[in-house]
Amino acid sequence: MRLGEHAGLKDSKPLRDIFGEALLDVVRDNPKVVVLDGDLGNSTKTELVRKAFPERSFNIGIAESNLVCIGAGMAGVGLIPWITSFSSFLLCNAYDQIRLSVAMSKINAKILGSHGGITLGKDGPTQMGIEDLALVGGFPTMVILVPCDPASMRAAVRAATDYEGPVWLRSSRYAMPEVYSQDLDFVIGKANTVREGNDLTIIANGLMVAAGLDAAAELADEGIEARVIDMHTLRPMDVEAIVSAAKETGAIVTAEEHLLHGGFGSNIARVVAENCPVPMRFVGLEDTYVESGDPDELLKKYHLTSGDIENMAREVLAEKRKAK
């Protein structure tokens, strides 16, 4: 069964394609936006902008340190740079540059970290961003966005561009099904409840939102009503949504296509522990590098499916009942 099928979600095209289209839209609408590429425009899909607006597209080449700082410099004349590449290359080659010239300088730059997670698949672990969000978490001034579907990607690109300050946006090769209709309410820092329920809450981001909805549909067949929250903003975190979920449903499962160590589950657990401790479980990558392979096979092998969320949901519910 494909991702989102059980929940009745419509299939879509790869998220990176949506990103490219959304970026082209903001470049068209806002003359201040410029796009910088680390020679991966055909993979990140910034090539769409390059074709339409060559004078506002800059391929800095395979030199991420230089790429990040040139982008930061362009913000210094009032432009809004979108600095784009794979998250693994940006973060591993230019962490220092992002730290000083973007985050510490609090400049109005946007960074696209493409190919987040493991679902780029066959190119293998050197290209995968399994630790990207943990690393971005180390920039205290940076907004972090993880869209889960086409509509939220479009909204995120627009919101990031309009926001005054540094923003990180995660993109992916994977075709994420449509969680939202086109008129979704996307506010930075405000999580969206995509399914109501009071037995437990599944808090997810990225493709795990669709997996969470699949899991919720399956659990509903068993009479369990799971709330599903799309936590598309990792920073600033929607503390209120987490606390309400803990108080109202009494059990939480988090799900992310990312290492558990340093992942958003641990940040949510901190909020829960401080405000309203309830039983929790965490779906994500255990300490390992992932291998090359078909994306769906990899999701299965590394326990990032709706079935894995369901299992954790049953566990956490059993613990909740026992506590009562």
């Binding site: 410029v34 004078e55 506002r56 800059f58 800095i60 080449g61 030199a63 340190s65 230089n66 990040v68 700082c69 040139i70 982008g71 930061a72 410099g73 362009m74 913000a75 210094g76 004349v77 009032g78 432009l79 740079p81 220092d96 540059q97 730290r99 000083l100 010239s101 510490m104 300088s105 609090k106 400049i107």
Partner: protein, 277 residues
């Protein structure tokens, strides 16, 4: 706007900058005195001899030339220059490295007017300047960018990434000044990690190069004016300098890198030498 001072005035400015740096770092009990001293005449020429176009009463004047202190550890010099140029009160210098003060140990963008970049991890300044110029070309602003880099900094890979890019973009608006004082933190550069042949390296990357006595304000100014006329390529002024220039016992001992003069006797001696220099 940097006014054109006469030769004697420039000498006085350089002397006052050294005194301010000495006092600020001694008060802070830390800071890179010797790395600041080697660049004093370079920044004196740039800011006070009509090279750099700026308005200290309008720090974000869109047409301003950019000055980026890529060797961020020379922050005491940058602050002393900015204060003298009128960006802020000289009294701020005495808050260097203090908690609650915007006068951070290394420059942070947005903390003090006139500071154009956050630096202190070496290698980023030229790339930032390239971004400013690419942006300026796009929005049709006509300004130049000047970047001061250190010699040890030339060991960083990003310097050469940016060198390649600036030549690719035929960036005649970019002038880099290299403070070639021949020492890095752990010792002589030639011993630790040699850079030579350095001029040839820059030339082979497509840059116009010129060398100068980095403690002669007139010669530096003349050289910078020549570089302003270079077309279709970036240029670099390789300024031969002396680390700790102006204080004999600092000049002789590279271990002063990153240290302030704390001993009162040494402080008085240093002050006397600067005043008599």
């Amino acid at each position: 706007m940097g006014s054109i001072a006469n030769k004697n005035e420039l000498k006085i400015i350089a002397r006052e900058l050294r005194l301010d740096i000495l006092e600020a770092t001694t008060k802070a009990e830390s800071g890179h005195l010797s790395s600041s001293f080697s660049s004093v005449e370079i920044l004196t020429a740039l800011f006070f001899n009509g090279i750099l176009r700026y308005r200290s009463d309008e720090p974000l004047w869109p047409e301003r030339d950019r000055f980026i202190m890529s060797k961020g550890h020379a922050a005491p010099l940058l602050y002393a220059v900015l204060a003298k140029a009128g960006y802020f009160s000289r009294d701020e210098l005495w808050r260097l490295r203090q908690a609650g003060s915007p006068v951070q140990g290394h420059p942070i963008l947005g903390c003090m007017p006139g500071v154009e970049a956050t630096t202190g991890s070496l290698g980023q300044g030229i790339s930032l300047a390239i971004g400013h110029i690419l942006g300026a070309r796009l929005i049709k602003k006509d300004f130049s960018a000047y970047v001061l880099i250190g010699d040890g900094e030339c060991q960083a890979g990003q310097i050469w990434e940016s060198a390649m890019a600036a030549a690719h973009y035929q960036m005649q608006e970019l002038i880099v000044i290299l403070d070639y004082n021949k020492f890095q933190e752990m010792g002589p550069i030639s011993r630790e990690m040699g850079l030579e042949p350095l001029t040839e390296k820059w030339q082979s990357f497509g840059w116009y190069t010129q060398e100068v006595d980095g403690h002669d304000v007139q010669k530096i100014s003349a050289a910078l004016k020549t570089l302003q006329e270079v077309k279709e390529k970036p240029s670099i002024l390789i300024a031969h300098t002396v680390k700790g220039k102006g204080i004999s016992f600092v000049e002789k001992d590279f271990t002063w890198h990153g240290r302030a003069i704390k001993d009162p006797e040494q402080y008085e001696m240093a002050k006397k030498e600067i005043l008599c220099g």
